[in-house]
């Protein structure tokens, strides 16, 4: 029931309560309640648009930053990842397998602001042993959506 609702919303956060009720066969009241509860339980975190910023004049620099850290004896990676996540420039934080430990998505106004974040904030955090910064050059797909060529092909009229 909750999953049915989430699947609709994940695809289209604009879907109305009435629509979701029809799609899932639940009453509007139940849908409303379930969504409210999911928001309270932090299952639904936020409703956001997937934006193609390249189509808008906007000076934004995105970087992927690999971070090697020394896990803490008690909390492992969690407390250090939590500290890094506090910075507002940090969009996403993941613990990953491989040559590094944490992968960050960082957004800044300019390359300089990202560089400052790395040299002045990130490397000063206790436990951070090394970083590698990759500036993003171009985005092709965002959150499952193609940035170019995703408009779809127009269907041809056909008799059937």
């Amino acid at each position: 029931m909750l999953k049915d609702i989430l699947r609709v919303l994940e695809n289209d956060a604009h879907a109305t309560t009435k629509q979701i009720a029809t799609m899932t066969g639940l009453s509007a009241t139940v849908v409303n309640k379930t969504i409210k509860q999911a928001e309270k339980d932090r299952i639904i975190l936020k409703y956001k648009a997937v934006v193609n910023w390249d189509r808008v004049e906007d000076e934004q620099v995105w970087a992927l930053i690999e971070v090697r850290v020394k896990p803490e004896p008690e909390s492992g990676y969690d407390s250090i990842a939590g500290r890094i996540a506090q910075f507002e420039q940090v969009r996403s934080v993941y613990l990953a397998s491989g040559n590094y430990d944490l992968l960050l998505v960082v957004v800044g106004k300019t390359e300089r602001t990202v560089a400052d974040f790395v040299s002045q904030n990130l490397t000063h955090i206790e436990g951070v042993e090394g970083t590698e910064t990759h500036f993003m050059l171009k985005r092709y797909k965002e959150d499952g959506e193609l940035l170019e060529g995703g408009e779809g092909v127009k269907r041809q009229p056909v008799i059937l």
């Binding site: 799609m23 066969g25 779809g152 056909v158």
Partner: protein, 396 residues
């Protein structure tokens, strides 16, 4: 510039058989539609998805490798094997890939081959009415006579076994049916299919079961006709990839039947087609091997839209029985007092919404229109808003 005299002369060359085919009732709507802007189309009956990329990628890779030649007439052996495996695991019916499966150019070719392989001049073929637009024409082209078996909304557009039996004559050769159905979205219960199987057995009639929409069912289980006891030897299963895997443009389908029938169909196929498109066959292999999750995801999405359109049509006063298959809703438009053609034409002109008149699918489709809901939710909602205005204005 027109030269009517000349045109008439040329028409004399057209065969009697082709002249007998009724001009498609849908054609003029599409001509009109083409000339208009801002139309929301619930007309075209195909998935609104592009083919899942991994399937397309398999074909692209095959082209890069140079797989650009004919395949064996019957189709790539691996594809026939995968199709056999799929039919067995999905419906429990076992076909021998080498002799009992033929890959065709869409299910359309499979249907044409099946009819031409079994029909002698004057043979009668029973079919539920309303039916897919090509059924009666293909029977006529094969030299047979279509015999319509009326179905009604009261019976959820399921064909009644007794209505079939009362129309059987010494000339009856076959029953042709497609469930889940285009244009109604109807599905058939297993009980009724068993009763039809019994009739076919007793009267020694072949059943052609067009199951192109088999995977698009909602809350019910599809029964594959040839999986019924004894029916593998008495029926031709027609299937394809277009609807389940969103592969309409690839033109790839198949027939599965007793080896004598497949051999006869292959004869026609090899002289007229040679082999189904190679890259489409490669893509179909990929679809069967790894496309199941795509099918389930699309079905789930169609189902959401199905519920929206059925409820929406009911809310605006167009009563609509619940279609449990395909991606069509088939609401009654009799509250407007219009014929289905008038309704469709006026709706297109006044509100720029394209639907297909039910009468295009046979006499029993009169009073209904076909609305394909394989289009975006936003378009469905907007179409419903416009139709609401239209129905309110024309309600009798």
């Amino acid at each position: 510039m027109s030269d009517k005299g000349k045109g008439r002369k040329k028409e004399k060359f057209i065969s009697g058989r082709v002249n007998r085919l009724s001009p498609s009732g849908i054609r003029k709507f599409f001509d009109l539609l083409q000339s208009m802007d801002g139309v929301i189309s619930l007309g075209v009956g195909e998935p609104d998805y592009a083919t899942p990329w991994h399937i397309s990628e398999a074909a692209v890779k095959s082209l890069e490798k140079g797989y650009t030649m004919y395949t064996s007439n019957s189709g790539i052996i691996e594809l026939r094997q995968e199709t056999g495996k799929y039919l067995e695991s999905t419906y429990g019916v076992k076909y021998e890939p080498l002799e009992e499966i033929l890959m065709t150019v869409g299910v359309s070719e499979a249907l044409d081959l099946a009819l031409r392989a079994i029909i002698n001049p004057g043979d009668e073929v029973l079919m539920p009415d309303p039916h897919y637009v090509a059924y009666d024409s293909c029977v006529i082209l094969a030299g047979g006579e279509p015999v319509k078996v009326p179905t009604t909304e009261a019976n959820s557009f399921e064909v009644e076994p007794r209505d079939i039996e009362t129309r059987i004559t010494p000339k009856t050769k076959a029953i042709l049916m497609g469930y889940p159905a285009n244009p109604t979205g109807a599905v058939m219960s297993k009980e009724k299919l068993l009763a039809i199987a019994d009739i076919a057995r007793r009267h020694k009639i072949m059943v052609l079961s067009d199951e192109i929409y088999a995977r698009l069912v909602y809350g019910v289980e599809h029964t594959c006709f040839t999986s019924l006891p004894g029916m593998k030897d008495n029926a031709i299963l027609l299937g394809g990839f277009s609807k389940a895997y969103a592969m309409t443009g690839w033109r790839i389908g198949y027939a599965a039947a007793p080896k004598e029938i497949i051999a006869a169909m292959t004869k026609i196929h090899q002289y007229t087609i040679m082999s189904a498109p190679t890259m489409a066959q490669v893509a179909a292999i990929e679809a069967l091997k790894t496309g199941e999750s795509n099918v389930l995801e699309m079905v789930e999405d169609y189902n959401r839209r199905r519920k929206i359109i059925v409820k929406g049509l009911g809310d605006i006063g167009l009563s609509c029985f619940e279609p449990k298959g395909a991606f069509y809703a088939f609401p009654s438009i009799t509250v407007t007092g219009m014929t289905s053609e008038e309704f469709s034409e006026q709706l297109l002109i006044e509100e720029k919404v394209a639907v297909v008149p039910g009468s295009a699918f046979g006499e029993c489709g009169e009073g209904y229109v076909r609305c394909c809901y394989a289009t975006s939710l936003a378009d469905i909602e907007e179409a419903l808003t416009r139709m609401k205005r239209f129905v309110k204005k024309h309600r009798k």
